[in-house]
Amino acid sequence: MTSEGTAGARLGWTADEMMTIAAARQLRPGTSCFVGIGLPSTAANLARATHAPDLALIYESGCLGAQPGRLPLSIGDGVLADTAVAVITVPEVFNYWLQPGRIDIGFLAAAQLDRYANINTTVIGDYATPTVRLPGAGGAPEIAASCREGIIIVRQNPRTFVDRLDFVTSVGFGTGPGSRERLGLHGNGPQTVITDIGILKPDAANCELTLTALHPGATVEQARASAGWPLAVAEDLTDTAPPTAEELQRLRALTTT
């Protein structure tokens, strides 16, 4: 990421660190969070290590309330089972826990994102003859459908913030207002998108992602230049508080062990 380099040069932290810390701050104590692997897992475990020690982490491998002391490389690492309140089967985690809307937060990453926070993690290019074959859906479509709210973490650049997804893997607000209701998706949809530049939230009226906060060192111009569509910017745009020493120390402890 260029943003990563520049930010890293200017400040005492990288843009990825700021992104992960800003994401962790979104996770409220006492809630339950269905965690995708990668950036979401790092941010969720940072939240547990800082302001939300009682955050209940749910991993699709069947670990309910996992409390790993170190970051798992995969969503099925032994440390998750060893520290979980309960270990259940994969059918059960999706059918009994995710599907009924028991989980507060669905925390996802994305390869492509559009203005309605729909996600592509399947292919770049044509499905039959892809230029890049991505891993695919995993648990994401149902996490995006059924969690009470969604949080998405993604590096913001013209390749990720696209005008039109090559493939709709997971639905945010579909084609706009009313889409989720028409599709019978019970969750409230993605409420926050955290990037390496700032924070975006869906507009209450038209559901379109709107830049609501900028991370230290980032600019509106940079945010606009990093989006494949005319990016909406909130009038009351705020500044993300810089990482605290504790946040940085905890994050680096997590990611270096």
């Binding site: 490389l73 099925g76 998750l80 089972a81 994969v90 059918n95 479509p141 149902e142």
Partner: protein
């Protein structure tokens, strides 16, 4: 009653060219030793079914065992891509690979329907996604009581399912614990089943979180110590995260992949060929 046989004989008897085969294990207890035996026995035209193809199917695909993959997430967890899977999908190397793509919830429920003797399962899933356009095995169904429209997926009933477990007793009863994923469903959904185990014991001492498969519910048990490596066996050995990271380099290039497989898998004196020895 399950037969206690060698891994070689179990694969020779239960796995046939053209079979629809599920080898399950969600990160944990992935049956690598059995997959390597399938590769050594040169099975072809397999329809491989697994939520997460992982390295186990990346290896089988790269060795030309598969004509089709039914899956829901095809990456190297925490590392990146499955290069042999990608190469087969985008370039048809070494043979073209058809894909049938689902979500985890859909795949899990397909096994549940299969294990339950039902032709389909119902879930809240896929709606609004392009998966419904690309995957023929997704349909809509209407609740006869409320009129609500939901999603249906067909039962998955593999010709043969293979899993790895910690232990079996001498009667062939199976005991596994830790993350048990969809293994019970995959076995119960299959026409034939093989379970490889870390050890065979006189008595299965109860373990918290254990899943038991009675001997009369499976076909064959084969001893395969270390048989899940580089995946792990809870209580026996940890996941070899280092190898998952090395695989990025080994598998990126066709030649280095082929060389590695030839040296470590095709030759019986291979590193984890020990599993096969111990079983035969």
């Amino acid at each position: 009653m399950a037969q206690l046989v060698s891994l070689h004989d179990a694969v020779a008897e239960l796995v046939h060219d053209g079979d629809t085969m599920a080898m399950e294990g969600f990160t944990h207890l992935i049956p690598f030793a059995a997959a390597h035996e399938v590769i050594r026995q040169r099975r072809r035209d397999l329809v491989l079914v697994r939520l997460t193809p992982d390295l186990i199917y990346d290896q089988m695909i790269g060795m030309g065992c598969a004509s089709k993959l039914v899956f829901s997430w095809g990456g190297n967890p925490g590392v990146g891509s499955l290069h042999r899977f990608r190469d087969a999908v985008t370039n048809g190397w070494p043979v073209p690979l058809e894909v049938e793509e689902h979500s985890h919830a859909g795949m899990a429920n397909r096994y549940v329907a299969g294990a339950s003797g039902l032709p389909f399962a119902v879930l809240r899933g896929y709606r609004g996604t392009d998966l419904m356009k690309q995957t023929a095995t997704i349909a809509s169904i209407t609740c006869p009581f409320t009129g609500e429209e939901l999603t249906a997926v067909p039962a998955m009933n593999p010709d043969v399912s293979v899993i790895h477990a910690q232990r079996a007793d001498r009667d062939g009863n199976i005991q596994m614990w830790g993350i048990t994923g969809v293994q019970k469903e995959a076995v119960l959904a299959a026409k034939r089943s093989l379970v490889t185990v870390e050890e065979i014991v006189d008595h299965l001492d109860p373990v918290p979180g254990q899943v038991i498969l009675p001997t009369w519910s499976i076909n064959a048990v084969a001893l395969a110590p270390n048989g899940a490596h580089p995946s792990y066996a809870h209580g026996y050995y940890d996941r070899d995260n280092g190898f998952y990271q090395q695989w990025e380099q080994i598998s990126r290039d066709r030649d280095s992949f082929t060389a590695w497989m030839t040296e470590h898998i095709l030759q019986p004196t291979a590193a984890d060929g020990g599993a096969t020895e111990a079983a035969s």
